[in-house]
Symmetry: C2
Subunit: 202 residues, 2 copies
């Protein structure tokens, strides 16, 4: 079922969830009201929400609490998933300290770095391990998500290690295209490229 959802729809589900959570009151909300609030088309909102288990009522809309639950279920916010970070530079440390992952059931459990000044220390209560030990630690941790925050030239080696240890979902902040086998999914966030794209938009 989930494999049928277009990525573009999937990407909008957290937007709906954040919006619904930001509303002060419970009760019902229509797809039209959601669409207007988010500056989107109503048909699109209805199609997106139809991928979840939420049932809208004609002329009434969705129960806000039920819709939140349905979105949280769909996004796996209630499944606990462990994530690890490679690279404890400024960005890696920012992610170690960031509390927002728990909203989605994601627990960042550790980081890896090859700088001996960092290994053995803690950031945001999370340990930074020696990257040399990553193969062993990754197996112990049973991580499902890997986040790559190392410089571009080291990113492919980190991806290879993650994949060898069974991690199939990788969020990559390094500005390189990773080569990965079938069955492994990579999402790229190139912050500088995003700013350049924004700058090029009219």
């Amino acid at each position: 079922m989930k494999s049928d959802i277009p990525v573009t729809s999937l990407q909008r589900l957290p937007v709906y969830l954040n919006y619904l959570k930001s509303l002060a009151s419970d009760g019902f909300i229509s797809s039209g009201a959601i669409a207007r609030a988010l500056g989107m088309g109503e048909v699109l909102v209805r199609k997106d929400l139809a991928f979840t288990s939420a049932q809208g009522k004609t002329r009434v809309g969705y129960s806000r609490t039920e819709l939140i639950s349905a979105l949280e279920d769909y996004l796996g916010c209630n499944d606990k998933k462990k994530a690890v970070i490679f690279g404890a530079g400024e960005l890696g440390k920012a992610l170690l300290s960031y509390g927002g992952f728990s909203n989605y059931g994601i627990e960042v459990v550790a980081a890896f770095d090859n700088d001996s000044a960092k290994t053995g220390t803690y950031v945001g209560g999370k340990p930074i391990f020696d990257a040399e030990t990553s193969t062993q630690k990754l197996t112990e941790i049973d991580a499902r998500l890997g986040v790559i925050c190392v410089p571009a030239h080291g990113a492919q080696a980190v991806a290879d290690t993650l994949i060898a240890c069974g991690v199939k979902k990788i969020l990559n902040f390094a500005p390189v295209l990773l080569r990965v086998p079938d069955g492994v999914i990579v999402r790229n966030i190139d912050v500088a490229a995003n700013l350049a794209i924004l700058s090029s938009m009219i």
Copy 2:
């Protein structure tokens, strides 16, 4: 001309640029070779590159150096653009220290924060100013890009300040939907949502 490019095409231009820069040798490269290397369709690659000034030659392809120049021109890598960051927490500091923006002609010149322990200090050689002075400083700096790294509850106020000071392009890391007037463009990067989307993908 630029306004005709679909955002999805625009988003791929930095990927081509990074790939071409990663190649060791100069000479010619065909759209087919680029497509195969990036796991994309050849027609798509050709359509995307047609938005730039690059001219491919039949049966030869593109000159690598000319294609890099055309992509850099299109993405404005040679125009100097000033950016400011609001929020000098871990993420804001990571962006202040990050060197990759200059590849796109973007110069991050300063950050703003309301924590007096941070204001007056420097990160990555960039000053952190008191957020109270942001209206005046923004005018002095003549920033074109604003990056929002403050917590969710403060993001709209920061956006309002940026817009009041003439900044029309905003990169928003706060997990909220910003209300902005017509003519202002926002790109959102919600890191936790990205990880949740990745986790939900099969």
